[in-house]
């Protein structure tokens, strides 16, 4: 275990209300910079300005990926339900040189509810308070043709017929910086219940005040042990208490539910982010898997490791039962 200096993620400051909504979406690593020309929110909906934020942690040029965008209004409502259109414009490589025109097709993005939130089946995009609808919009198999900075414009029509449009910028990497599909899974020896010298809170932050470690079935097996046994494993990296985005708790709960249903087909593992939040000590397994060259990392991430020890699938930020369950259902029973 080595301590890592990490400040709490910062929202990109625009106006106070905007800062509030942006931090909902994702943990933005220090030093993340995007061209300023793409950072201004646009669009309005029923008198409420809609702001877009790319929630995907890692997009890689030339690789189909899952692009998530959160759309929120300045009065803290979320755009929920239905579908929207994503369109794209290349902004350049950050050098300041005029960017070339790089064509890219639009994509249709469907609402992806945070686990436990209503999916609004049959509804069109609607501004909702979080108790009524809460999630992001997802386009699958989005392939950015070139690395650099890209503008993503989300547009559509609200339930009252009002058109809206909001844009955000995101960096598209030339090569992945986080463990990716096809990679050999790092055989991390993450702490489990009973590991000597490890405080309970370092196994699950919800056990910080002396409570029993919740979801013990997620803390029975290390990643290394699962791989050694030839077991597929669903691994979630999250910190249910100290998560700055709102997604860690629901995603961890989802993995716990899947463990109950598919424990005969795979091992299920929760890796807590912090060994000691206040001392900014990060669990080594998190660094092994998620740390990017700048030294920072984001969470939550969920990985499916195949029986061959390679990454079979990965999901950042929000993931739903509907995305994971078909892969688990296809697995044979464990030996």
């Amino acid at each position: 275990m080595r301590p890592v200096t990490r400040s709490l993620p910062r929202a990109f400051g625009r106006v106070t209300a905007v800062a509030i909504v942006l931090v909902l979406v994702a943990c933005s690593p220090a030093g993340s910079q995007v061209p300023t020309q793409a950072a201004s929110p646009t669009g309005s909906a029923s008198g409420s300005q809609v702001i877009a934020e790319v929630a995907t942690f890692q997009m890689v040029a030339g690789r189909p990926g899952r692009l998530l965008v959160a759309l929120v209004s300045i009065d803290r409502r979320w755009l929920s339900f239905g579908s929207v259109t994503f369109s794209f414009a290349y902004l350049g490589d950050g050098s300041g040189s005029p960017p070339p025109s790089v064509p890219m097709e639009d994509a249709t993005a469907a609402f992806l509810p945070i686990p436990g939130s209503p999916d609004g089946a049959g509804l069109v995009p609607t501004l909702t308070f979080p108790a009524d609808g809460h999630g992001v919009y997802k386009a699958d198999s989005v392939t950015f043709p070139q690395a650099g900075y890209w503008q993503v414009v989300a547009s559509g029509e609200l339930d009252d017929g009002t058109a809206f449009s909001a844009d955000a910028a995101t960096e598209v990497l030339a090569t992945p910086t986080v463990v990716s599909v096809g990679d050999v899974a790092p055989q991390s020896d993450n702490a489990v219940i009973g590991t000597a010298g490890v405080p309970n809170a370092a196994i699950d932050s919800r056990a910080a005040s002396g409570e029993p470690i919740p979801d013990p079935e997620l803390h029975a097996t290390s990643i290394a042990a699962a791989v050694d046994a030839g077991h597929p494993a669903l691994v979630v990296f999250s910190t249910p208490v100290y998560c700055v985005s709102q997604f860690c708790g629901p995603v961890t709960d989802l993995v716990e539910q899947l463990a109950a249903d598919y424990g005969d087909r795979a091992d299920f593992i929760h890796v807590e982010i912090y060994r000691d939040f206040q001392a900014t000590q990060i669990n080594q397994t998190v660094l092994d898997w998620l740390q990017v060259p700048s030294g920072d990392f984001r969470e939550p991430w969920t990985f499916l490791i195949g029986a061959d020890g390679r990454i079979a699938a990965s999901w950042d930020t929000v993931v739903t039962r509907g995305e994971i369950e078909p892969l688990l259902r296809a697995l044979p029973p464990k030996d």
Partner: protein, 100 residues
């Protein structure tokens, strides 16, 4: 409706005012305080001890929603508001007065 970090405090005021109806408390907390509390905990300039108190207080309140312990919920909401107000003061943000 407040839209700055002060909403962490005003949202908790509204949630406390909704006691003892646990359903309304949870709805108000979710809609008016939850996001602002996350933002407050992530605010630049807030030290990790203050951030930890806010996040741990949120976890406790959310545990109370699940357990249905109304007495604990009331106590923990008030404790969370104290932590949130301390965090606002640490950021030199004026703590709003509870209207309720």
């Amino acid at each position: 409706m407040a839209v700055g970090l002060e909403a962490a405090s005003t949202g908790l005021c509204a949630a406390i005012a909704a006691l003892p109806d646990p359903t309304e408390v949870e709805r108000t907390f979710t809609n008016e305080a939850h996001a602002a509390l996350h933002s407050l905990a992530a605010a630049a300039g807030l030290d990790r001890a203050d951030a930890a108190r806010v996040l741990e207080g949120m976890e406790q309140v959310e545990t109370d929603f699940n357990s249905g312990d109304a007495g604990a919920l009331a106590t923990d909401l008030v404790a969370l508001q104290v932590s949130a107000d301390e965090a606002l003061r640490a950021l030199a943000i004026e703590v709003p007065v509870c209207a309720q």
